[in-house]
Amino acid sequence: MEALTTSNVTKRYTNHLALDQVSISIPQQTIFGLLGPNGAGKTTLIRIINQIINADSGDIFIFGEPLQEKHIGTIGYLPEERGLYKKLKVGEQLIYLAQLKGLSKKVATEKCKAWIRKFEITEWWNKKVEDLSKGMAQKVQFISTVMHEPKLIILDEPFSGFDPVNAQLITQEILELKAKGCTIIFSTHRMETVEDLCDHIALLDKSKKILEGSKKQVKETYRSNTYWVEHKGSFDLPKTKYELLEQQNLEDSFFKSAVRVIDDTSPNQLIRDLTLVTEVHSFFEKIPTMSEIFISLVKGGKNE
């Protein structure tokens, strides 16, 4: 059973289509990267999952059940536009937010206290949020997202506005929550974070899903059969089998070249051919980063 599936979710605003037949499925206990440039429809999709707005058509299932009001407590949401009540004290605020998620006052108080202890910020309990530093407020905000123990956690651009120390802490927490069984949706346009955190990704562009799968699958799909070679002395390869994409002169007669294999020639064959024409110092496959895949797909879409 998937943690969340959407099928053909469509949302139209007055003069543009925000989501066009978007279907994704998010396996349980994974970190799922919802990627896409600004304005692709990520936030709209997340708001629909959070029942802040309704989809015009399409179905959403959460842990096998159609999404309903009772699932509010199942989801923990850290919006991109986030904030806290400035005049409220940290403790009061967390308890209030947890109560709104459906916890009783007693349980909410216990949970809040536990998290406050965990983050070693017990002395903030009676401080007003406006008296906290930005980093402190971010911790409180994160606690408010996860304290009701949601099974699905949605983080919209979680690292924007977080300082590196907090970002590190949050990363750790995210991994810990995943280990405990939580499913995490991670929406971002910053690919570097996806590279090491996400297990699965979906790429939205111009209201449509253009790519979905596990990180491994996606990388496999977008292998470009290109290899980096560092070598001494320039070379020529048969143009029928290989394509020399670029050649950089590192120093003196040392070069670094990108070579693409045209047909199904194996890397071993390429090495063999190379040793005939040059002195090979290093050889490795040029695996596309998520960022490269992202850019090539998004740009490719624009050229159509």
Partner: protein, 433 residues
Amino acid sequence: MNKILLIIQREFLNRVQKKSFLIATILLPLIFPAIMAVLVFVAVEQKKNATKEVVYYVDESGFFVPDTTQFFFRKFEGDVNTAKIAFQYDDSYGLLYIPAFKLSDPKGIALYTKVNPGPNEVGELERILENRIKELKMQRLNIDQKLLDSLRTNVSILNVNLSEGGQEKNSDSRVLFGVGMTCGILMYMFIFIYGAQIMQGIIEEKTSKVVEVIVSSVKPFQLMMGKIIGLASVGLLQFLIWIVLITTLTSIVLGFFCLEMPQQQMMNEMGQQNPAMQNEGAMEFLKMMGQIPFGYVIFNFLFYFLGGYLLYGALFAAVGSAVDSPAEAQQFMFPITIPMLIAYFGLFTFILEDPHGSISIWLSIIPFTAPIAMMGRIAFGVPDWQLALSMISLIAGFILTTWVAGRIYRVGILMHGTKINYKVMAKWFMMKG
């Protein structure tokens, strides 16, 4: 439903725990009776210390008989030119010169003063002279003094309302005017103050961006209603405290002054006029105050405050949700305040002057102007059917504005940095789910 209660509770506690709430709630009822007490005190003191002005007169006609209710008249022996010179070295108020004149055509009477006399003084002197001339004319017609005395009457009009049931009720229109004006102005102020607070609260939630966190837990409409109702309960609490405090303090203050001014002194001040009658007037006034159905007025005030607040509060909420800053809100506040201003000016131009005129009746039934207009009329007595119609239309009105506001609010709170105009708001209103 449970969540709305949570929001109401939070909103209520937030406001009530503020120091400003405590200060406003305690100080305001102290300020009103304090101002009243100071005014009454000053008025009493002034009356006590007031000395009547001295007016010298030169009477060449020989008709003048001084009436000393307002002035001390002293006869100046000598001609008018000497009098004028003497007057310059004297600190008396004026010099009244009455030349010989024909009763049919009194001309040439002059008042010399060092400062410009007020209309009251001149009027009083004219009244004295006119009365005297009238008396003389009547004497010429051979009407004897006894008959003249019996003709002189003091009239004070007593208003009696005939209510629908045929019961007689005494009323004094000045008191009713005062009650209507006070209630109307207070209503205008409270709707404005509380409405603006809703708007401010929503703008705060929007700019601090906590709102998206909240609406992932509750429906936007629940959040809006929770805030509006929470603030309404703060308002009601504040009113109840005020009513209790003001009633207690006013009765203390009034009690104090009634004891201070015993009957004897009152009579002295009234001078030669019939003391019994004057006393009766004062009693009448107190009786009148006692007859204003304060319970009824307060009940209606609370009802119209609540209704008017919900009606306008929803609109203020819609504006607050649409904008990003209080400055931006100004332009949208204007159309909301127009009906309130119409009611407010209507209060002074038609409603208090003619509480049962057709404009007054309509203003008190149209929901946007009803809270202020009805408060202006309420003390004068409003037929039950009009009150019922007005209340129903007010309830319908706030249901309508709440519905409209809810549709704008749910979109507006999630929008940042959008350029807002009425077209955009209309679009939000039309937007589905």
